[in-house]
Amino acid sequence: MAVQKNSLDLTLKIWRQAGPDAAGRFETHEAKGIPDSASFLEMLDIVNERIITEGGEPVAFDHDCREGICGMCSLVINGMPHGPNRGVTTCQLHMRSFRSGDTIWIEPFRANAFPVIRDLAVDRRAFDRIVQAGGYVSVRTGSAPEANGLPVAKQDADAAFAAAACIGCGACVAACKNASAMLFVSAKVTHLNLLPQGKPEAQKRALSMVRAMDAEGFGNCTNQYECEAVCPKSISADYIRKLNRDYRNSSLADIAG
């Protein structure tokens, strides 16, 4: 069970941008002797530590839990949001996925609705505003009925859970050529609309969340499914079809009054 103690020498092309309105550029850094068991963010820590001791300004990037669940980390790595491996976030990507001598391009998630704050950190509050438009069940604390009073078929509960696994990282937007947020929105609508608790507001939810998404400047879905391919939680693009159906029904009901 020996852990391989291999190390990598890498050339990094890192996006640097002083603020939302500043022009950005790629900066080249040589990263030598990176252990292959380090995570990608630990590799950036090593690079930043060196920049700091040499008197420079370290690369700003978002991260927090470093175990793939908080959704705070981002990065487009060699053109792929969250890097080359499927079903993982950047913080779960380890350097053993690269080879010594590789050149790695590191960019922020790019979308009009996600303005750059600095370097690799972007502002994703648009996602919060979409949830505020209807991504909840309107239940007041204290008014809930007994939990087992309403059975939910296991397949519905499991399907709702699979949709609810979305971590709101925004990789789907970064991967989409239209910067559409349909995968994110459809996952939340599917989660809640599948459950009996979410049914009373199902129509309104689909309508208002899609409208909020449009208002934030996200693009439309043209069924390329890049979003599904890069989603670290493997959220299914099938939900987009469900959302479209819910949205159509809601729109018709809305028009009919």
């Binding site: 380090a38 700091i52 949830v131 991504g135 509960a157 859970f161 609810a164």
Partner: protein, 681 residues
């Protein structure tokens, strides 16, 4: 005192026959009240905890019945400041807004949905007794008190167990997709330290689903206008006006702007201080700053030495390591912990070690709980094996968690269904497939039971300052049982604070303080000065390098085993390290920009002060209990408590001199349960 009697029932309750129940009944009666130690030395010098007298089971109801109320029309006149948006903060902010209060909520992450509660894996306890296996409010209460090694408050813990069932109702109504059985009803699993199945879960992502439920409720209230959310905003100090907590000073982490927010009460829901160890399962951003700043403004810090080392984490792989990853305790339902019996076998592939050459040490030492022994005990046992030279993996700092038997018994598919995401996470980090070879695990810092001192209303000794969730000290004693952190965070936020906060608010005229007052300007000036100082040192070392050095020292001297000698050494080294920090720190960039290094430096500065209090607390507690293990006080590796001398809450007051904090004692009086030696054998 009859020592072992109570926990003989761990064994006898497996066969609940009437004769046995008759036999154990007196243990819970008042007949042994005289066994309680009540001498004059034991006079608390903390404020009263405020729990009503009378029978334990009706205290909470009575307290609610007699608590003050604020009428619906008046609630909007009160502004409540909630710092933190995890389970405690989000649930409190949402619920108080629903009731009509004006709420301001702050979090350092870019969205309230990212608070570290999201990473909780295994589940949430509730005394629903859906499994019909003998669970009850009393049982959950008793197991929590016992699990905490008789160092928690009876009334608080009973209340926690009592409201647990309502939490599940609330979360299900929000659309939290808990695991269900084929009949459509809720499923349960078992957790350490209990012999019933009362843990509700959503695969290995229970914290995520509960937090999203609370976040969605919070979002609903933000949309309604009841809550104003400040994301990427960090609390840097507490403002008191005439001794009452009336606001906070915060830094906008995007623009760097430092500003004040005034309110009628402040709720700190800012989590624990596990990152004082540098390596922990906490998120990188978790910090002690808000509670430490409140401490320096007068709030007492209670029991900081009660830290939880979780037994099942992925071992450290190198010096560059930035954090540790937990593997849920639920894995111990189906995984068996072992190490080779012989030292010379440790380097061999695990599959080549014959069954008879393996030491399933938890099953050997604790036959009635086996692999589901509580966390502190399982962690210490793992350390014992490694100290004995029988650890596995790099540096011999690991033990096996083996699923081979369960896979044989239940099939790989069943194990995949239960723990698929955890096995995947393990493979991502280690490059190893745990379906084919055992996991390697090692204990890591995970949770902190200590926190700011609070009374039954969750109010600290500073009037108006309330502390919820992991940030307070009140419910878990010296060790927390698995799946109880989520329960406590949500109990505090959804059900306790909405009922107890009016007791304070009703004494206050709303809206009388303003950010323009001199008290605010003074604290703002302090914060600006500290920030400028951090930026102006211009030394050679990064904040991270100081944090690592502090963490290694604390882990070494105040980790799984502590000695007087080691703690004294740490107390000598910490001030020296702090001095170097303030003379050789380098924070690049400026204060008026997005500057993660500046935020980190401020947090490390506070850890460097807090670490000293942590070691002081560990030094004064000359006993072993729960997560606090003093090597001098043990019976062959088992913690030896000293109830006579130490059954108190240690509440520390800041005196202006970090080396000489003042100790206040709150003696724990048990009316319902009796001290007993905690045995899981």
């Amino acid at each position: 005192m009859e020592k072992i009697q109570v926990w003989v029932s761990d064994v006898v309750l497996l066969q609940p026959d009437r004769a046995v129940l008759r036999k154990i009944k007196p243990m819970f009666s008042d007949s042994e009240a005289e066994a309680r130690i009540t001498d004059s030395r034991r006079r608390s010098d903390t404020p009263p905890d405020g729990a009503p007298s009378g029978p334990l089971a009706s205290k909470w109801t009575r307290h609610k019945d007699t608590s003050k109320l604020i009428s619906p029309a008046n609630r909007r006149k009160y502004t409540i400041i909630v710092v933190g948006s995890g389970l405690a903060g989000a649930s409190a902010a949402a619920t108080l807004s629903e009731q009509g209060y004006n709420v301001k909520c702050f979090c350092y992450q870019d969205s309230p949905r990212r608070a570290h509660s999201i990473a909780a894996q295994g589940g949430i306890n509730a005394a629903k007794n859906y499994q019909n296996d003998g669970d009850s409010v009393y049982r959950l209460f008793y197991e929590t008190i016992k699990g905490g090694d008789f160092r928690a408050r009876e009334a608080n813990v009973y209340r926690l167990a009592e409201v647990s069932a309502s939490i599940i109702d609330q979360c299900v109504a929000q659309g939290v997709p808990f695991a269900r059985e084929y009949g459509g009803l809720l499923a349960n699993r078992s957790f350490g330290g209990t012999q019933v199945s009362r843990t509700f879960y959503a695969a290995g992502q229970t914290g995520q689903q509960l937090l999203l439920g609370a976040y969605q409720s919070l979002s609903k209230e933000i949309a309604k206008g009841g809550v104003t959310m400040y994301a990427r905003t960090e609390m840097l100090d507490l403002v008191t006006v005439e001794g009452h907590a009336k606001g906070v000073v915060v830094r906008d982490m995007v623009t760097g702007k430092i500003s004040s927010h005034a309110g009628d009460a402040v709720l700190l829901c800012t989590g624990g201080y596990g990152n004082v160890f540098y390596l922990s399962t906490n998120a990188k951003g978790c910090n002690v700053t808000s509670t430490w700043r409140a401490h320096k403004r007068g709030a007492w810090f209670a029991n900081p030495c009660y830290t939880q080392i979780h037994p099942t984490c992925i071992p450290v792989s190198g010096a560059y390591q930035s954090k540790l990853t937990l593997m849920s305790e639920s894995l111990r339902n189906d995984g068996r912990c072992w190490v080779p019996k012989r030292k010379e076998d440790c380097g061999k592939p695990p599959g080549s070690i014959a069954e008879e050459d393996r030491d399933y040490y938890l099953e050997r030492k604790y036959p009635s709980f086996g692999n589901l022994a509580p966390r502190d005990i399982a962690s210490r046992s793992a350390k014992e094996q490694c100290d004995d030279g029988r650890g596995v993996g790099p540096g011999g700092l690991g033990v096996y968690l083996d699923f081979a038997d369960s896979i044989k018994r239940l099939g790989r598919k069943a194990i995949e269904e239960r723990y698929g995401n955890l096995f995947q996470m393990y493979e991502q980090i280690t490059g190893e497939n745990a379906y084919e070879q055992p996991m390697r695990i090692f204990p890591a810092v995970h949770y902190t039971m200590g926190g700011l001192w609070v009374d039954y209303n969750l109010m600290s000794n500073i009037p108006g300052l309330h502390v919820l969730g992991e940030a307070n000290f009140s419910d878990h004693g010296a060790n927390r049982l698995g799946a109880s952190a989520l329960m406590q965070g949500l109990a505090d936020g959804y059900f306790v604070i909405p009922a107890t906060l009016p007791n304070y608010l009703a004494t206050q005229k709303p809206g009388v303080v303003s950010e323009r007052d001199a008290d605010f300007k003074r604290v703002e000036a302090d914060v600006n000065e500290r920030t400028s100082k951090l930026l102006s040192i211009n030394g050679k070392r990064s904040a991270d390098s100081f944090h690592r050095e502090l963490g290694l020292l604390i882990w070494d001297k105040c980790g799984m085993a502590r000695t007087k000698e080691g703690l004294t050494e740490a107390l000598r080294k910490i001030p020296a390290l702090r001095e170097e920090f303030w003379s050789n720190l380098r924070v690049p960039g400026s204060g008026d920009q997005f500057n993660p290094q500046l935020a980190l430096a401020g947090r490390v500065a506070d850890f460097l002060e807090f670490g000293e209090l942590l070691c002081n607390d560990a030094l004064q507690r000359e006993e072993s209990c729960g997560g606090h293990f003093r090597s001098e006080h043990q019976d062959e590796g088992e913690a030896r408590r000293d109830d006579d001398q130490f059954s108190y809450v240690a509440a520390w007051e800041y005196t202006g001199d970090l080396a000489r904090p003042k100790l206040h004692k709150e003696w724990l009086e048990y009316e319902e349960v009796h001290f007993s030696t905690r045995s899981y054998r």
